[in-house]
């Protein structure tokens, strides 16, 4: 066993499990490289469409890989490394189980490898940051449960009565992420590689953004605040500025954060009361978010000189500064008027990266420079190199953010510009794209700088580990078993800090309140659907096309949601209604308009236009930056699964016609034949009646054509 009693002195010996921390640390460093590299590739693809070389390397498939790798592989491994390292020390005990720790590590890496394989293959649920198909979802949940057991098991055998604030954040993270991930992933499989989410349309939109927003809150904010609260005072060797602030900002942060999800859906068809709730709670998040920043920075009081001398402190301070910027910008963007300008533009991309590059990466880098020498029982190879990394990194982030801010506002203003005659000044969407392409290149340059700095970290860490002693003994400490009789009776929050289970339950309640109030009403969707707005479901062929749309990741660049803003309506047609997407599983409202909105694309262009456009977008729109999809013309439609799909949707309440239900396969073939014949007459030489392009054209031509306006 790892601890042995020394009854004479009331002391026990505790050996920490540092091996698992070393493993997660190395995994963090490895996956970060991949996430950053893919980030640069997708950034360049947006400026140079010719870089979309083959199907599995197109933007629509690599973008999910980038987000999933950054989130689950890079941030995920960093969180696990930091949590396992700090928790053992804060609780003065070894991790609950060496076996579970190993299972956690290898299970998580296996999941990432599966993601790296399946996402480029287009195996996707079509929900942002939740693209992984159902078998991988199951694995994620399983491994998360392993993590939770290991963590709470460690809490149970702790040799320190009170839980330090870092642990509060870890608890909130573990509980909430489990809830978010499971609820958002509930789907019905039709094959090992394909499933459909149970929620449709607005329900799916709401649950997806409840998840998506709180992935930011509980995967990128709370665990990293926990890490900051441990590593910042450790590195600075200073007390935390204010215990009271810790308490107040922790509870207010987790309680308020969970409500803010619908701010991703402002000005859409989402019911107004949900939009106002999202705005209100987002605005109120400003101060609680800054609470962490203030407590972090002011912890340096009395040690400001470290800001000149210690690269680790510099990384933390820079990270906190970026965090403060992003958490001020977030509430600002949640105000409807600001949002109507920023939404769907690159401003949002800039905002996100202010957080991920500035906050998450820099906390991680600071942590790595701090723990790697400790874990490998040596000194950091080069402080100077770490300093250069810091400055190149900051420069890269600023290039990135400023170019995206400029691109977003420029394009947002161009989209809404209306002249004295009531015409759009830039009716041609591609004009607004051409204008910002130079900024795309600037952004890529920012990414390259950021990666260049990271390469210095790689070298620095490599040299550090290389100079480590061969045998790495596990850190062993003498722990006094607390006398368990407090000096004075404890009250209030201090008492709660000694009660892990009660603390966890309270945290769960805090995040459940907002979740239930916002989500429960939409589960009875009928309340919001006007029955007089009859909507026809998609035909089997159109459904096949919809799956191709999802597989190719079209939603990463195209929205299907015309907002209630006059510029959207002038450009795209009548505002989208809840009814129009009420059968959509998953919803495809989108979050970004690198290309135009497609909600009312149907019948706007002839079939031939779509055919040529998919084969080579630049053959019809010279300056287009859309990837070409030539393989859609040669690969065949999966007709055989259509029957299953249609029956499943019918069971979930979609009123498919009797004919479609009884003979989906042949109905689809008939429709495809018609489209193919039409195109043949117009000069398409190949027989495309069983090719994917035909299904996709059928779907695109059906958009906005099913009633419900």
């Amino acid at each position: 066993m790892s601890s042995s009693n020394d009854t004479n002195s009331g002391m026990i010996q505790v050996k920490y499990n540092d091996q698992i921390v070393r493993m997660f640390t190395l995994a963090t460093i490895f996956w970060a490289t991949i996430a950053f590299l893919v980030g640069i590739i997708v950034a360049l693809q947006m400026a140079i469409p010719q870089l979309n070389v083959t199907g599995w390397l197109t933007f629509g498939r690599l973008r999910p890989l980038h987000t999933n790798a950054a989130l689950f592989a890079f941030a995920g491994n960093a969180i696990f490394a930091g949590i396992y390292h700090s928790t053992q020390r804060l609780l003065k005990t070894r991790l609950f189980s060496d076996g579970l720790s190993k299972l956690h590590f290898w299970g998580w890496q296996f999941i990432i490898v599966l993601a790296v394989i399946t996402l480029p293959l287009g195996i996707s649920q079509g929900k942002e940051y939740a693209e992984l198909e159902w078998p991988i979802d199951l694995a994620v949940v399983l491994i998360w449960v392993v993590f939770a057991i290991n963590f709470f098991g460690t809490l149970a055998k702790r040799n320190e009565k009170h839980l330090y604030i870092s642990l509060w954040f870890y608890i909130a993270t573990i509980v909430t992420v489990a809830l978010l991930y499971i609820v958002n992933a509930i789907s019905i499989p039709i094959s090992p590689f394909k499933s459909y989410i149970v929620y449709a349309g607005i329900q799916d939109a709401l649950i997806q953004w409840w998840y998506g927003h709180n992935a930011v809150a509980f995967f990128l904010t709370t665990p990293f605040l926990g890490l900051m609260y441990y590593y910042m005072p450790k590195a600075a060797n200073r007390p935390i500025y204010s215990y009271r602030l810790s308490v107040v900002h922790f509870w207010s942060l987790i309680f308020l954060y969970i409500w803010a999800g619908p701010h991703h859906l402002l000005n859409t068809a989402l019911p107004g009361w949900l939009q106002i709730l999202a705005t209100v709670f987002s605005v109120m998040l400003w101060a609680p978010s800054w609470g962490g920043a203030v407590n972090g920075i002011l912890t340096l009081r009395g040690a400001w000189h470290l800001l000149r001398t210690d690269p680790i402190i510099k990384f933390f301070v820079a990270a906190i500064t970026f965090y403060a910027m992003a958490t001020f910008e977030g509430p600002l963007l949640s105000i409807k008027a600001v949002n109507s300008l920023g939404h769907y533009t690159d401003w949002i991309i800039g905002h996100v990266h202010l957080g991920t590059l500035g906050w998450n990466s820099f906390v991680t880098f600071g942590m790595l420079y701090f723990i790697v020498p400790k874990l490998w029982r040596t000194e950091l190879y080069s402080k100077k190199m770490a300093n250069i990394h810091l400055w190149i990194g900051i420069l890269g982030i600023l290039f990135y953010y400023v170019s995206m801010l400029a691109a977003g506002i420029t394009q947002g203003l161009m989209w809404r510009a209306v002249d004295a005659n009531g015409h759009l000044v830039y009716p041609d969407f591609v004009e607004t794209v051409i204008r910002i392409i130079p900024l795309f290149l600037f952004r890529a340059l920012g990414g390259v700088l950021f990666l260049a700095g990271y390469v210095l970290l790689l070298y620095n860490i490599y040299k550090t580990i290389k100079q480590a002693p061969k045998e790495l003994a596990e850190e062993t400490v003498q722990v006094r078993i607390s006398s368990s009789v407090p000096i004075h009776p404890e009250q209030g929050h201090r008492k709660l800090e000694g009660m892990a289970a009660a603390f966890t339950i309270l945290a769960l309640i805090a995040i459940l309140v907002g979740s239930i109030i916002e989500i429960a009403p939409t589960l009875s969707i009928n309340k919001y659907v006007k029955t007089e707005n009859k909507v026809e479901p998609f035909t089997p062929l159109e459904l096949a096309g919809r799956d191709i749309y999802i597989k190719e990741g079209c939603y990463t660049c195209h929205s299907q949601m015309i907002r209630k803003t006059h510029s959207d309506v002038l450009r795209y047609g009548a505002a989208s209604t809840i009814e129009e997407s009420m059968y959509d599983r998953p919803f495809q409202w989108g979050s970004k308009r690198t290309g135009p909105d497609l909600a009312r694309l149907g019948k706007k262009y002839p079939d031939l236009w779509h055919y040529m456009h998919m084969e080579d977008p630049r053959a019809v729109i010279k300056e287009s930056i859309m990837p070409a999809y030539p393989w859609l013309i040669t690969s065949t439609i999966d007709f055989d699964s259509l029957q299953k799909k249609v029956s499943l949707f019918n069971k979930l309440g979609v009123p498919h016609s009797e004919e479609d239900l009884s003979d989906a396969n042949n109905r689809a073939k008939e429709q495809a034949k018609k489209i193919a014949e039409g195109l043949k007459k117009q000069g398409v030489k190949e027989d495309i009646s069983d090719k994917k392009i035909t299904a996709l054209i059928a779907y695109l031509q059906a958009l906005g054509q099913k009633g419900g306006e």
């Binding site: 700090s86 215990y243 602030l245 800054w290 009716p427 041609d428």
Partner: protein, 196 residues
């Protein structure tokens, strides 16, 4: 570590609680931060009241409806794309101007050929070499009008303001000049037959 500079402040360490060497000060929440929070809370109350109390759950939708109506009225009251004062005969004179036709052809190749074919044989858009017209009667002024205003519903851009008026006329003249030519793969006729 360097010397303790705690003395500079009134900070008081909370005794009896220490986590892996980390202690905490007994400082209050900074007042200015609390003021930010009170401010946002007040703002929240105001926004909620504004929304629910304005006797209209659809405040924003109404605001949008008004703005949209403004934009659309502007559109309606404005006379349809004004044809600059130019007579058909003046335009017809361009048919005798090889430089104008050459320029028209060049721009046609750049901007129009994507949809109407390199020789006007039609592709995505209708062919421009037969006597069938979807809009207008095939006069140069009609063609110029269509170029200016576009047919947004069918995906054709309004070129007014993007191509100078003079060049629009040259393109229109060029299109007129290729009437009746025979090209392979000509798209089937569409629209109304116009007999001259």
């Amino acid at each position: 570590m360097s010397e303790d500079k705690t003395q500079l402040y009134d900070d008081k360490i909370i005794e009896g609680y220490e986590y892996d060497g980390i202690t905490e000060y007994d400082n209050p929440c900074p007042a200015w931060l609390m003021y930010i929070f009170y401010f946002t809370a007040l703002l929240a109350v105001f926004l909620t009241g504004y929304y629910f109390g304005s006797n209209s759950m659809n405040e924003t939708i109404e605001a949008y409806a008004i703005k949209l109506k403004e934009a659309q009225t502007q559109k309606e009251t404005q006379t349809p794309i004004q044809k600059p004062e130019v007579s058909e005969s003046e335009l017809s004179a361009l048919l005798q101007d090889p430089a104008a036709l050459a320029e028209g052809k060049e721009i046609f190749g750049e901007k129009c050929a994507l949809c109407h074919g390199n020789s006007g044989e039609g592709m995505i858009g209708p062919n421009l070499i037969d006597n069938y017209w979807l809009r207008g009667k095939g006069k140069i002024s009609d063609i110029a009008f269509t170029i200016r205003s576009g047919i947004p519903d069918k995906g054709m851009i309004a070129w007014e303001g993007k191509i100078p008026e003079k060049q629009i006329r040259h393109i229109a003249a060029y299109i007129k000049s290729i009437q009746g030519t025979k090209v392979d793969n000509t798209k089937e006729p569409d629209g109304e037959l116009v007999k001259e």
